[in-house]
Symmetry: C2
Subunit: 315 residues, 2 copies
């Protein structure tokens, strides 16, 4: 490791799941700090983290891990953040940057800010990256590459500290956008929280049918259902906390979605083919926008194991 990319002396990660382990691996890969300390609630996670080595020191408490750190990132479920903030607040080094990776920002600020003294720079953050996998052995350093990270500093936050945290996420390969906590929560309600809610819901609907068996649903899932189960396999604790803490924005988006779905239902019931065709055509354009913005590829991916790439002469 050289000092070329170094931004911090000591970074502390509290929570060592997919996001924490990927940040740790990224810091090592690009030499962003001299030392990464870490803590996770479960002993099993701590042991796995120590074994994989994406952090340099594993500690028995969040407070112990946070001592002397220049940057502390809380990578735990939102419901655990207030207790963590209370625990580490007394030991945080003056001038230290405290951030998090929670999917909701207003609630995280309400949980953390009251416990943090003025000589700490608290800058909430949210990397828009992840997968349906969780746990310390699912992380990899490139998780944030070409993804967006949103920072939501409250008014009056020190600009130099924000810039330093921004540089950290840029160094992990992300683009960085700064917005208000409230706007973040609206944007994420439609781009992430509502899609997950719907995915969970349809998987539940499919499990409860009488005339179509669960094994048939699984067998024929390649027709579209499969794509929903992917995000419905995400970490239950994290998502419970998201819906409990971004309630207002999620219910607002859900209300709009239900209205739009009812309109579609009506078009089907009345056989209004033109209305269906117009809506389906407009959807293609949004898809094209996402591909152009580099947030997905145009590759047909329905085979997922990329059968099309393999030779199959033996058939």
């Amino acid at each position: 490791m050289t000092d070329e990319g170094k931004l911090f002396d000591r970074v502390c990660l509290i929570g060592l799941g997919l996001i924490g382990s990927s940040i740790g691996a990224g810091i090592h890969k690009w030499g962003l700090a001299d030392h990464v300390s870490g803590y996770a609630r479960s002993q099993e996670t701590r042991q796995t983290a120590a074994k994989i080595g994406f952090i340099d020191s594993v500690h028995e408490s969040a407070a112990e891990a946070a001592v002397d750190a220049d940057l502390v990132i809380i990578c735990a479920p939102i419901g655990a953040m207030e207790a963590i903030a209370k625990e580490i607040a007394p030991v945080l080094k003056p001038g230290c940057i405290l951030s998090d990776v929670g999917s909701v920002k207003k609630a995280v600020i309400a949980a953390i800010a009251p416990h943090i003294s003025d000589n700490i720079y608290f800058i909430p953050g949210h990397p828009i990256a992840g997968s349906e996998k969780s746990g310390p052995d699912s992380g990899y350093p490139e998780l944030f590459v070409d993804r967006w990270c949103i920072l939501t500093p409250v008014e009056g936050t020190d600009k130099i500290a924000v810039e330093k945290l921004r540089k950290f996420w840029l160094a992990l390969g992300s683009s960085v956008e700064i917005m208000t906590p409230s706007h973040h929560d609206s944007v994420l309600a439609i781009t992430s929280h509502l899609p997950h809610l719907i995915a969970y819901s349809i998987v539940s609907t499919a499990s409860d049918l009488e005339d179509v068996t669960r094994s048939e649903v699984i067998k024929f899932s390649a027709g579209g259902f499969r794509d929903f189960t992917r995000i419905a396999a995400s970490d239950p604790t994290m998502w419970r906390d998201v819906f409990l803490t971004n309630k207002e924005a999620v219910l607002e988006m859900l209300g709009r979605f239900s209205e739009d779905l009812s309109a579609l239902q009506r078009s089907i019931r009345w056989g209004d083919g033109d209305a269906l065709f117009d809506l389906f055509t407009r959807s293609k354009e949004t898809r094209q926008g996402i591909i152009e913005a580099g947030q997905d590829t145009a590759e047909a991916d329905f085979g997922r194991d990329h059968a099309s790439d393999k030779p199959v002469e033996d058939q």
Copy 2:
């Protein structure tokens, strides 16, 4: 081409989009017929098909293409099938197998069967494979490999003919399941039609927001929304016809889904974290079933460029 894999002398494909072109390419790749004739409504598609060469002869009408064929597969949108059946019926060779690839089976049978004489074996089919891409240049021979193909012969259909068509799909790499047209339409309503409807609907909701811009939706789509746009980019004509012709089963599944979504909405509104957690945990199990059934992989795919597959020894 050797005769080793040959099942038919002459196969005719009517409709040369993603499915038609993939069948043609598969027949060539595995030598399943001596000659593949084809027809598409649009001249542009016919020209592209002739250029790519996944069929041996391109014709100016469906009837001309169907002459002398032992197997005719209609690969056109459901709304076009009745006219095609009427047109080709007089020229079909006695003993010929007529099939299709439509996503709805009761409606396809109602459109085709009345026009076909008794000396033709009409066996409706539906390969559960596809991608959000369409058109003759999106096909590839392995599209059906490790996917399911459902055949829905009506009662009394000649068993030898069904077996021959089954062998054809096996030769293209698929597994084959036989069920009634009505059961097919229920299974597909939940595994494919409802997911597409929901995906189209949420893309529409996201496009109509006031406080979140379309560009923000696109930028931050990696949080989950992206996975919905993939299937919402499918062919509008095909999907319009699906919803118009499988109305009853789709409305039934949609009604169940709306109920389940309302229950989830209520859990969020009342802050019932336990109910949310339980539901989210059950969803993970369905996902696991799909992976075990070989209908998807467990690879984290959010990066889509498969960054996680790369070696990370340099940490």
